[in-house]
Symmetry: C2
Subunit: 467 residues, 2 copies
């Protein structure tokens, strides 16, 4: 389609320009690089600088960064990943750092400070006015993944006694410094949150209507220590642009806007997906930016656990030496049965884990899941059994008894694996373990054991071999 081709053309242009900027910097043609980069908006400039930092020495990036107009450079800075922010901060003067800190939006400032080494943070805070320093310290102390760490104190406050035209005049004065003007907050008696008013309702109302008549007192809010995943759920459910954050006295301490939630959703999903593959990493460092030893540390714990589980399976198989040595051909069907157990179990586990993550499936649905997976697994088990029976007997030319051993084991293993995959994540959630840990690696190591035992037991019975 032409449209998609056009989109690609834009992206190609962007990539070519990035290459040219890197080339210019390599040749020290800084002005050419600056003129070219300024064709783009701040988000794109941030992406280009990321590329430049990957390719060239940090000094060159800093020269280019310093040549940007001041307002542009602050915004670009706010879009950079924290390791790149740190690289730049290390190369610019204290005065430049102070300027950036001062100009950053409050929530970007907190995000930035959170990632900095403590000594740099202290140096920065020294130069901050006392009131703001106190506020920054409060915000820095919220745990990393709670509502408090996402919020900003820059919102518009209105009084219930204001008229619409007074409120609009207030917004006109304060609007540029606020994170959003599209939802305004009405507080009473100190800082207790009374209600919220959308700018839309202000704009369509008549000038002399009072805020008290327009405000919504039945609003949804979150608590400052609520987990960011719950906050994201509220945004998804209600389609908000912003949500108020209150403390336990119901005082308004900040607001969270939807743009920050998109990042949270991405982060939380990545964490889930990685856990589902047995990678444990709490940080949001990108794959390429993470050191080799950190990668090893993230992957090793599960691998050790899985190795031990596989060793046990091996030992169990060893106990059936009598069966295996008499009918050595059984060995060649072992991977088939173990693999199918893992594959069928993983499918069920993944669907259930994801279903619970997006709140489609709750603990109360355990019986429904059981019944559904039971029926699915019987059908799948019969199909796969028939396929394997045919293959064992007609293609491999083995006896009917060996064919039946494979086929009967297959049905049992598929049913077991689907039920385990369906119910284990729910059981984990019930006892407070993250269901994402009950995905492929866990399920397949459990089904491996059961598959091996099932197959070899049935073989010894059907083929009449004493264990």
């Amino acid at each position: 389609m032409t449209e998609t081709m056009y989109m690609d053309a834009k992206m190609q242009q962007f990539e070519e320009d990035t290459e040219r900027i890197i080339k210019f910097l390599g040749e020290k043609s800084y002005f050419k690089a600056r003129d070219l980069i300024l064709k783009y908006n701040e988000v794109d400039i941030g992406e280009i600088l990321e590329e430049v930092l990957d390719e060239l020495e940090v000094e060159k990036t800093i020269i280019l960064f310093r040549m940007l107009p001041k307002d542009v450079s602050v915004e670009v800075f706010s879009y950079l990943p924290s390791d790149d922010q740190l690289a730049i901060v290390r190369g610019i003067t204290d005065r430049e750092i102070s300027y950036i800190i001062e100009e950053l939006d409050f929530d970007d400032k907190i995000d930035f400070l959170e990632e900095l080494p403590a000594n740099i943070v202290d140096k920065i805070l020294e130069k901050t006015p006392k009131e703001e320093r106190k506020l920054i310290n409060t915000f820095l102390n919220y745990p990393d993944t709670c509502a408090g760490s996402l919020m900003t104190p820059d919102y518009i406050s209105l009084q219930e006694t204001m008229t619409v035209s007074e409120a609009m005049a207030h917004i006109k004065r304060e609007g540029m410094d606020s994170e959003t003007v599209y939802t305004c907050y009405v507080k009473r008696g100190g800082r207790k949150l009374e209600g919220i008013v959308s700018l839309r309702s202000l704009v369509v109302a008549n000038d002399n209507v009072r805020i008290s008549e327009l405000m919504n007192t039945d609003y949804v809010y979150v608590n400052v220590y609520d987990d960011q995943e719950e906050v994201a759920e509220s945004f998804k459910k209600y389609g908000f642009l912003a949500i108020p954050v209150v403390d336990k006295e119901h005082r308004l301490v900040g607001i969270i806007t939807v743009d920050d939630i998109l990042d949270v959703i991405e982060e939380e999903t990545t964490e889930d997906i990685e856990r589902m593959a047995g990678v444990m990493d709490g940080s949001d460092t990108e794959y390429l930016d993470m050191g080799v030893f950190r990668h090893v540390r993230n992957r090793l714990p599960w691998l050790i656990f899985l190795t031990i589980s596989l060793m046990i399976t091996g030992t169990i198989i060893g106990k059936f030496e009598a069966v295996l040595s008499q009918v050595i051909v059984l060995v060649s069907y072992l991977p088939l049965l173990m693999g199918t157990g893992g594959n069928t179990g993983s499918q069920a586990a993944t669907l259930i884990i994801r279903g619970m993550a997006v709140d489609d499936i709750g603990l109360k649905d355990a019986l429904k899941v059981f019944w559904k997976e039971l029926r699915i697994s019987v059908i799948l088990g019969i199909i796969l059994s028939a396929l394997n029976l045919a293959k064992v007997v007609f293609v491999d030319g083995q006896s009917i008894m060996i064919g039946m051993t494979v086929a009967i084991s297959m049905i049992i293993i598929v049913i077991f694996a689907k039920l385990l995959g369906g119910l284990l994540p729910m059981a984990a959630k019930k006892i407070g373990i993250d269901p994402a840990l009950m995905a492929t690696p866990m399920i397949s190591s459990l089904t491996d054991m059961v598959s091996a035992v099932t197959f070899l037991l049935i073989a010894s019975v059907l083929l009449g071999i004493a264990l």
Copy 2:
């Protein structure tokens, strides 16, 4: 923490009330049920009705739905999943349907009509004014996952010659029918998109400033046939509240708002995660709402593919009968090596697939991925080998040669699996296949084969057994 307990208390109250509403309806105490449900907002009422539909006959739900105030019922309707919408539509009169259709926001209307059987759509469209019918038909014809299917034509248009106060008056008149008032669109000469103006810039500007001075002409837009995944990327990258959609003549055909994007992100992520587990489902039907045969159809293709791959692995193992029958104990280490290959490969594949999905990793990074996975796998391989060597020799009491067979195979398999897991998803993307398909099932079926061959070959060499 008290805060979280409070959140849970709210949720518990909600669940108790849902139970009570179901009980009231069961006893035909409809008025009690209605009074209780009206304590909640429309989104929550929607959730309660979903529960009611799961538990009781559809007729009871319809009676309750009809007892809601008309404006509430339309909004609640828009939040229901499409199968529940259909259930309700089948039980209410044509007049009630017409009312709902008329009152729904345009994009909700399209979403609803898209899911209805064609004969019901025709019946509904008969009663719609001709102009709107034409528009609806255009929107219904956009492919399901493109920008066109997400957009709404209800946006605020301004003229560049307007002053701020004229623009605000215009927004006051039109604001209630528009999907958003927070971004307004300036068109010129027919319907060509000229620029965008945020309501914030209007509110903070002086009354007699012209729109032409405020509007941003360097805005980001999407094309009507762009894939919804690309649209979501733009929202994530730039943090927009809304994005304009243009056709190939650059005419503004609609806008997409951020609340609809949250659903898209969830949908796309679910599809990715399911594919990564070998479940192929194009629909967004929830797990519990999907029939058993549909589940079977979604899972069977990959299982058949994987079974065939496992059969081949089995046949390969069969070729090593000579080795296995002489040293039967090797059989008990086969699952260990095959399993570890699958587990280590899956970790790498998952990280790369997710990294590409969130644009942290591009095809140009293939060499970096190769180098990183190579170092990681050497370290992990050595650790796992040492662990296994010790276990085979000291715990199992096997000979050093068998220990070395396991250990050397382990290193080779881990390196191979990590490199395959890292690079196969990238290769898939390069040739236009969804990288998500190169996750655990695919990787582990490939590593299974290679693991078996590696182990048995090394065994035959080290133990001096002719094949």
